[in-house]
Structures are given as structure tokens and as C-alpha cells.
Symmetry: C2
């Protein structure tokens, strides 16, 4: 470009960026040549100059280098959708990054900040981003001393205790848990809440843990849980596909839901309104979370004086369906009386 | 960094990139200093060097500089979700960009290629990207000579003709259309198919056009359409919210659906399975489209010899519900007989 215009690189740069003290004719000449050549300062060069890119990142890190197309799961898809809308509404582009650090993509994009979903307790991605001086907002409160700028989460302990009480109220005597093998706080807090509840009510824990990023492992773990000699009569599954995993396993063992087995799973999928029977689900409200993390991140990037607290707890919702409501035992002698008009 | 290590910038670069002929001691020294300083070559600098970023873009351009948070609409959200999964599965990050060219974001990210949804007939974004030598895959076949690398689309003409025949079969005598004011091929082809159908069957066209990116404009246009003296007795709405727009307008005018007014709209939303009455929808299969555009784009970026055709037509699906099925006229004299046990 400089050669074509017969000027120095500095002159090209000054002319195109409106800087320096150049004669108008030189500036005009450089611009004409740039136009003729279709020359534009490259995006990368511009990023180097301005220091801000208008790009924010989003990824899931807890599964480390395991391949994991997280947007296949309803929670992540809804959260990412809300995050995208929130970013676009404030003029930012959202970069959805592969979950693994293997890929070179991370080092090839100049992000102004990043949202990390479910960081593990010593997350290397979070540590590296913070070391680079970038704001990091986490979906999931960070364990230990993980140095995030802000976080948004649910109260997972309260949610799990609520579900266990709900199942006990419906008549469950031995409640099992399907949980994960990772160290993110969602998995960790939910599991310890379960163990604490068991201790409090004097029940032996009955649980199976599996790598939740593997779409097939849930079915195997559900099967294992229902094959145990101390088979539970109610199960809470922490992950999206666990409802259908457990329903399929129950069928294999000839267990009727909810008569022989009560079921609840954590899911955002509307599929569970239409299974046979419909399954009670816990919603973590990913849309609210996706919006909140992006608002906090952009506030941090722009150094805005915001009233938003940097630690936000979003309420969960238990959507009660047939699978967790045990019918009262039938009296075989006299038919139940109608509650109306007696 | 070079100053801290007491060497030249070239030596730093060679040492960190494993290039050049440096004594092992120098290389080791530079790496130690880099480690101590937490120095990493910046993402932008790295992009300049390698020429590939591992990033692909996705945006909607047809609404020009109108603010438009497109992921709020079911079609775009599902399409973006599938595109994200396809990109992640091949190790790419997906950058979802603001719809408008006003923002500086476009020039601040080094994309390897871009997916453009619904380009208008003289799309400046597409032209500029192609000028920069980047592959562009379009969701929506390009009008005229728009120079895209590949495209994926439905057969919108066939879909509209099928809907109009379906409505005529259900007894419609004057079919109206809710359409858009933009020049993208979806809007254009759907509208011309409607006009051609009207000409063929000898019906005067009855349509209202509105700016589809405006979430309120659809309700106003639906109202206008049903307020006309030549009020249609059936309507097809091209955009996602048109089902509820038209249902609300019908209620205001005391029109029963489907008895007085038959309705179909193009939507991916499951809302229409549960409206009163449920509304017949045309699905454009955005998940298949989102996957296909990203596969084609990455093939083009990687220069892969692929068997995939660069022009792909994805079948649509008409999901017939109550709103487009007119009940046979009741005989008021004798009550209908029970179909059972006669």
C-alpha cells in the first residue's frame, strides 16, 4: 500500500486514521490509492491500535479438554441465546468458544472480556484470562479463590433441599441421586446438599456419579442406580437428560413412575411436559442468568458505575408434574368419595 | 519484553515461536523472562502472523442499520444454536455479530469467513466481505449477482403455493398476506408466489407489508389487514409473531378462528401448539439450515474437497393445526350422532 502510494508506512497510517500533520493533497492521494486497491487496515492491526475489540467471549470450561458441544444441551442453549441477545442489544458481538483449551482459537481472538460457565475449582482458563487483565464473569459461583470479576448463580443447596423435602413429602423413603464427576460448584454444592440432607434424616446416601458431558453416560449411570440392591424409591438427577435416562431404566426394571419410583431432574427442556408420565423438573432460569452475566461483564469492560451487585443469586423454579406426586393408595373396598357436593 | 530480556524484538519473536537460529541459552533466557513477566504475544499480533483466526461470523443483514436483536426470534435463535454446535464440533468459535454495520465490531474481528442470514439484494456487508477475500455463505439464496461462496435456503415459492392451496381446500375464498418491506429473497419470493397464485385463481391480492424487525409493527399490520373493506377470510403471515398478531386482531373484530378466519403463519415457536385455537405453522427447519451453512463455510475456509453441493435446498414442513381446518357446517336440525357404538 505504501509502495503503491509512493509514501512511507507512517504516512499511510496517518492519512487513513486522520492523524499527523500531512498536506491535504497527500492525505487525499493516499485515500484514493487505498480506495483503488480496496485496502483496509486489517482488523488485527486495528485491534492492536485501539485496545478494544467490541467482542466478548462465552464458554464452558469444567469439562477440560473433553470434546463437548455444550449448545446441544437445553440449559447452555437458552443461556447462550439470552447472552447473545444481551450482547447484541449493547452493540457487542458474542464469541461462543469451544469448551477445550486444546484449540488455538482462544489465542486468536482479542476479547474485551469473557463469560465462563461452570468453572472448575482451579480453572486454568479463568486464571489465564485474569492474568491477561481481562474481566471474567462466571456463571456459577467460583470455588475457593478463583479470581472472577463477578458471578451469577442459583442457590443450589436450597434448591436440592427443596426437592428432597418434596420427594419425602410424596412418600419417598430412600432417595437416590444421579450426579457428576466434575468439580464445578453446581455439581459440588448439589451433591454436598444431598449428603447433608441424608445425614440429617438418617438415610444412607445412594448415588451414582458420571461424566456429564458424555451424552451416553447418563443412561448407564441411571441403570446402575436402579440395579443396586439398595435401590432408591425416588431419584433426583442433576443433568438435563436424566429424566429420560431414568424413565428408560425404570421401564427396563419394570418400575412404574410415580407408583414405584418418584422422579425429578434438573432441566430446561419442554420435553418433560410430554413424557409418559410428565416429569417434574427444576429450572435454573438460564435466560435470566445469561442476561445478567453479560450485563455485569459489559459494565466491567466499560468501567460503568453500576448499581448491579457483582454477586447475583437467581431464584430457581420447581415445575411439579406427575412423576413426583404419588397417588394415594387405593382402597379396594369402597370407592373414594367425590370431594364435591358431599 | 525485549528490553527486559536485553535482546532484540526479532530475537524475542524467534525464541518464543521456535524460529531462527538462536543459541539454546538465549532461547531459554527469553522464555524465562517471558514467563516471569507473564508475557504472551497478543491475540491480534498472532492473527497478523498466522492469517487464520479459527473464528467464523454470523449475522442478519437485511434490516440494515435498524437495531434488531434477532436472537429474540425463534427462527434465528434455533438457526444460531445449530450453527454454534456445528462450529464448535469442528473446533471453530462462532462470533454472533450485531445486525447493523454502524458498530465498529465488524472491523475489530479477524474472521475466517461469515454466514449472512437473509442478505438484501444489494447487500453492502456481503459485498465488503467478499472484497476482503473472505468466504461468505448465505442463509437465503442471493438475489441477482450477490457474490456468495455458497447458499442454503428453502423453496419458498413452493411452500407458499402449498399453504395457499391448503387454505383454499379448507374453504377460503379470499386469502390475505402479511408480508415485509425488505428486499431479502425470503420476503421477495414469498410475496411474488402469493401474487402469482392470486393471478392464477383470479383473486384480487389483499396484503399488508410492514418492517418485520419491529416487534410491534406486526400487530398494527394485522389489524389493518382485518379492518379492510375487502377483509380476507384466511391469512398467511410470513413472520414468527404473526400468528398471535392475527389472533389478537381477529378477537378485536369478533372473528372466530377457524370459523370466520383461517390462519397460518411461518414460525418455529412451539407457542402455536398451545394457543386458543392452536395455529398451523410452516417450519423452515432452521436447525438443518444452521448446520448446513456452517459446514459449507468451514469447507470453503479449509479448501476442503467436499461432496456437499454449494447450493442446498432444505425441505419445509407444514404443521397443520386447528386454525386452518374449517369444521364442516353443523346441521341445526338433528344432533350429530356419536361415532361410537352405533
Amino acid at each position: 500500500m505504501a509502495a503503491a502510494a509512493g509514501v512511507s508506512i507512517t504516512t499511510v497510517s496517518d492519512a487513513l486514521n486522520g492523524k499527523g500533520r500531512l498536506p491535504d493533497a497527500t492525505r487525499r492521494h493516499v485515500r484514493e490509492v487505498a480506495d483503488r486497491l480496496g485496502y483496509r487496515p486489517s482488523a488485527a492491526a486495528r485491534t492492536l491500535r485501539t485496545g478494544k475489540s467490541g467482542l466478548i467471549g462465552l464458554t464452558v470450561t469444567t469439562y477440560g479438554d473433553e470434546p463437548f458441544t455444550f449448545t446441544e444441551f437445553a440449559y447452555f442453549a437458552e443461556m447462550a441465546r439470552a447472552a447473545t441477545s444481551a450482547a447484541l442489544a449493547r452493540g457487542y458481538a458474542l464469541v461462543i468458544l469451544p469448551a477445550t483449551s486444546r484449540h488455538d482459537v482462544w489465542s486468536n481472538v482479542a476479547l474485551d472480556g469473557t463469560v465462563v460457565i461452570d468453572p472448575s475449582d482451579q480453572d486454568p482458563v479463568v486464571s489465564e484470562l485474569v492474568r491477561q487483565g481481562l474481566p471474567v464473569v462466571s456463571d456459577g459461583r467460583p470455588a475457593g479463590s478463583l479470581p472472577v470479576t463477578a458471578w451469577v448463580d442459583n442457590d443450589h443447596e436450597a434448591a436440592v433441599l427443596g426437592i428432597l423435602d418434596h420427594l419425602a413429602d410424596a412418600g419417598a423413603r430412600r432417595i437416590g441421586l444421579l450426579t457428576g464427576t466434575t468439580t464445578d460448584t453446581y455439581t459440588h454444592l448439589s451433591t454436598t446438599a444431598y449428603l447433608r440432607w441424608c445425614e440429617r434424616v438418617g438415610q444412607d446416601p445412594v448415588y451414582e456419579a458420571y461424566p456429564a458431558h458424555d451424552p451416553c453416560a447418563g443412561a448407564v449411570a441411571a441403570d446402575r442406580l436402579l440395579a443396586r440392591p439398595d435401590r432408591p424409591d425416588a431419584v433426583y438427577g442433576l443433568f438435563d437428560p436424566n429424566g429420560t435416562d431414568l424413565l428408560a431404566a425404570a421401564r427396563r426394571y419394570g418400575l412404574r413412575v410415580p407408583d414405584d419410583l418418584l422422579l425429578v431432574c434438573c432441566s430446561e427442556s419442554t420435553v418433560y411436559a410430554h413424557t409418559e408420565p410428565p416429569i417434574t423438573t427444576l429450572s435454573l432460569k438460564p435466560r435470566r442468568i445469561g442476561t445478567a452475566v453479560v450485563q455485569l461483564l459489559i459494565d466491567a469492560i466499560e468501567g460503568a458505575d453500576s448499581d448491579r451487585p457483582v454477586e447475583q443469586v437467581i431464584p430457581t423454579e420447581l415445575i411439579v408434574r406427575t412423576s413426583s406426586q404419588r397417588r394415594p393408595p387405593r382402597t379396594t373396598v369402597s370407592p373414594p368419595r367425590s370431594p364435591e357436593k358431599t
